[in-house]
Amino acid sequence: MSTQTKSSRISLDYVKTIGIVNNGFNGRGFANPYDLTTDDEGRIFVLNRCDPARASAIRVGICNLDDEYLEEFGRGNGSGDGQFTWVVAMAKDRQNRLHITDEFNHRVTTYTTDGEYVSHWGKPGANDGELNGPAGIAVDSSDNLFIVDQNNSRVQKFTTEGKFIATWGEFGNSDGQFNLPWGVAVDKDDNVYIADWRNDRIQKFSNDGQFLVTFGSSGDGEGQFQRPTSVAIDPDGFIYIADWGNERVQILGPDGSFQLILKGEATLSKWAEEYLASNPEEKAERDISNLKPNLPAHLNTPYHISSQTEPYFWGPVSVTIDKKGRLYVTETNRHRFQVYQKR
C-alpha cells in the first residue's frame, strides 16, 4: 500500500528511519521526542520530552544521518539552571545556540550546540514578555525569536536574549485569533506561520503580526487538519504540516493548495536492526508478521491504526526541513524520525 498521495508539483522520496526507543536514562535512542533541528555540520538535535518515569533524563540527543549517536546534553528534571520539566520545541539561532521552550516552567532555556548551558529567561504571566505555556519557537533571518504563548493565545517576538519586541493574537477562532496554538515557522521572506492547534488550521502572518491568510479546516480530508502541531516551509514556499490528530503529514503549495499526504513508511533503523540481530527469535517471528494489518471497525481511527501499524507515523509531532531539502518527521510515540528527500 502506498502511503503517499501523489502530487504533480512536489514529490518526496523516503530515505530512512533513525531511532529506537530508549527505556533508560542516557545513550543511543530517543525517549518520546518532541522536536528536531539540524545544523550545517550534519548534526541532528533531537529534543526528548521523556515520560514521568524517565523525567530525570530530559535531554537533547545528537546524531547524524549516518546513524551515529554522537552525544547528549541536559541537566535533568526541574526548574534549576539548565533543567527542564515539559519541553516542547527547539530553535537554532544564527549564533549556533539552541533555544528550548518549557511549557511547565514558562521559560526558554538556551544551550550552545555543543551542549553548554547559557541561560534561561521568561516568567509566568500575561503581560508583554511574560509567558504562559510557551510551545513552538522559530527564528527569522534577523535572529528574532517567535514564541507561541499557548495559554495566552498569542505569538510573542523576542530577541535571542529574551528582550520583548512585539505580540499579537487573542483567544478565538477568527482571523488572527488562536485556540491553544502550538508550532511556528518562518519562511524565506520572514513571514510567520502558526499551527493553530485547536482551531485545526494554519495561519500566516507578516513578520510584524499582520494577518495574511489561513489554511485548512477541521477534518480528515485533503487539506483538512486534526490538531496540527508543527509547520515548516521549504525554500520554494511549500508548507509542511504535522497533522498530528490524523497521524499524517500534509504538504500544501505556497498558495495553500493541497499537494501531498504522507502517512509514514518507516523501515528498520540501523539501531533497530542491531537490536533484532541480537534477538533472533523475535526477529524470526517479526519477519513473517504483517505489520500493516486490517483492523476491526471499532479500531478504525488514525490513532488506533497507527498504534498497530508500525511503519506509519504515530504521534508525528514535528516537521523540520533542512537546507538540502530533507524533511524530518519526529514521532513521539515511536521514538524515531523518518527522513524524506524532496526531489
Partner: protein, 472 residues
Amino acid sequence: MINNDTVLMAHLLRRAGFGATRNELEDYLALGYDGAVEALLNPSDAGNMPDDLIRRYHVEQSELRDLAGSAAYWMYRMISTSCPLEEKIALFWHGLFATGYAKLNQARSLLNQVDMFRRSGMGSFENLLVDLSKDPAMIVWLDNNENHDEAINENYGRELLELFSMGIGNYTEEDIKECSRAFTGWTLGNAEYMAIRAAKDSIWPYGRIAWHFDYREQDHDDGEKTFLGETGRFNGEDIIAIIAKQESTAQFVATRLFQFFAADEITEFGEKAIQEMITTYFSSGYQIKDMLRTLFNSDYFKSDEARFARVKGPVEMVVGAIRMAGNYQNPALGIEKVSNTMLYMGQGLLQPPTVEGWHEGSEWIDSGALVERVNFVAKELSNVQSPGVRSIIDRLEANSDAGILHPTALANGCLDLLGPIAVSEATHEVLVNYASRQGDLDLNGHQPGDEAEQRVGNMLRLVAATREYQLA
C-alpha cells in the same frame, strides 16, 4: 424506605457513580429519582477530558506504553466524566473479567478492553461474552492464543465457565474441553510475534504494537461437540449462546451486580432484589442495563438497609474524593502518582492480582490500606484552595446565620455537603467537640486560605477520617 430525596439520590450516585458534589446532586434531583436512573443508564456525551488535550501534555498517556501512565489515563476519564455509570460498569467488568498488565505488558490493549466494557458493558450479556472472547488482552491473559485445533488449551474455556458465567458445579470437565474446542482459532493478529514480545516485555525497536482480534479458520476445530447436553458443530458464539440461557448464569450475573452496586452482604431482603434481577435477565434478553434498572428501582436498593452497606473500593474512594474536591480537571503533573496511591490501597487499575479479581468488601480495609485511604482523602478535602472545597465553604456561608456557624452547624454542614453522610452518635459527638474547641466559626469576609476557611478544611479532614466515610 429512605424518605429523603437528597439522601436517596446521594445513595444512588455513590453506587451508580463516584458520589456527587452538591451541584451534581441538585442537577440529578431536578430529574427526579426515576429520571436520574434513566440518565445514568443511558450515557450520552460524557464530557470527559478530551484525548487531544491529554495526549498533548502527557506523552506517556499518548503512547500508553507503561502501566502508571495508562492507569492515570483511565483516572482522568473517571474524574472528568459526566456519565459516571459508564465508568463504574467498566470498573465492575474490569474486576470481574480481571485481566492484568503483569502478564501482558500491553497497556494500550488493556485500555482497549476497558473501551469494550464501556461499549458493551450495559448491553446483552451474551454479546459481552462474545466481545470478551474476542478481546486480545483476554486472549493472551488466558492463553487462548495457545488453544489450537490439534492441541487445545483449556485455560480460557475453564474460566469462561467457572469465573465469568455459570460458576463451578454447573458443568463437567467434558464441557470445559468441548467449550475450549469451540474457541480454537480465536487469537490475535501476529499472535506468535506478539506473544514473544509480551513474554520478553519487549518494547523494541519502536515501542509497543497494540493488538487486535484475528480468527484463524484453519486452526479452528470445526467438528461436532456436545456442550451442556446440546450437540452441534459449535463455534465460540454458539457456546456463549448456550451459556447465556442457563439459570446459573443469570444467578451469577445478578449476584455479582448486586454485590458491586448494592451491598457486600446478601440478606434475605437483598436476595429478593437478586431474584427480580434474574427475572429481568431473561425477560430482557440478558440486558445488563435492564437488570441495573431493576436493581436501582428495587425496594431493597431504596431501603435504609442498603445505604452504607458497601465498603468503598480504593478507586471509588480516590476518584470520589478528587471529584468532590474538583481537582485534576485539566492535564497536570502528578496524576500518575495518584493512580499509584490506589495501588497502595490495594486496587491498582489495570493490575488486578489474579484472574479472580480483587477481594472486595471488608477485605479492602487493613491497617495499612486504611491509613492510605484516610491520608489521601483528608489531604484532598482539607485543601481549601481546591474548587470543590471552595464551593463547600461558600455553601456553608450561604446556609449560616449571618456568616456565623455554631460548632454543631459546622459539623452537620460538612457531613451534609460531603454526602449527606449519616454518622453514629459517638462520631457526631467527636466532630462537634472538635468544632467547639474554637467556638463559633465566623465566615464573614473570609479569604482563600485564611484561618476561618482552614477550620472548614480541618472539619472536612476529620469527616474523611470517620468510619462512615469509608462506606458507600
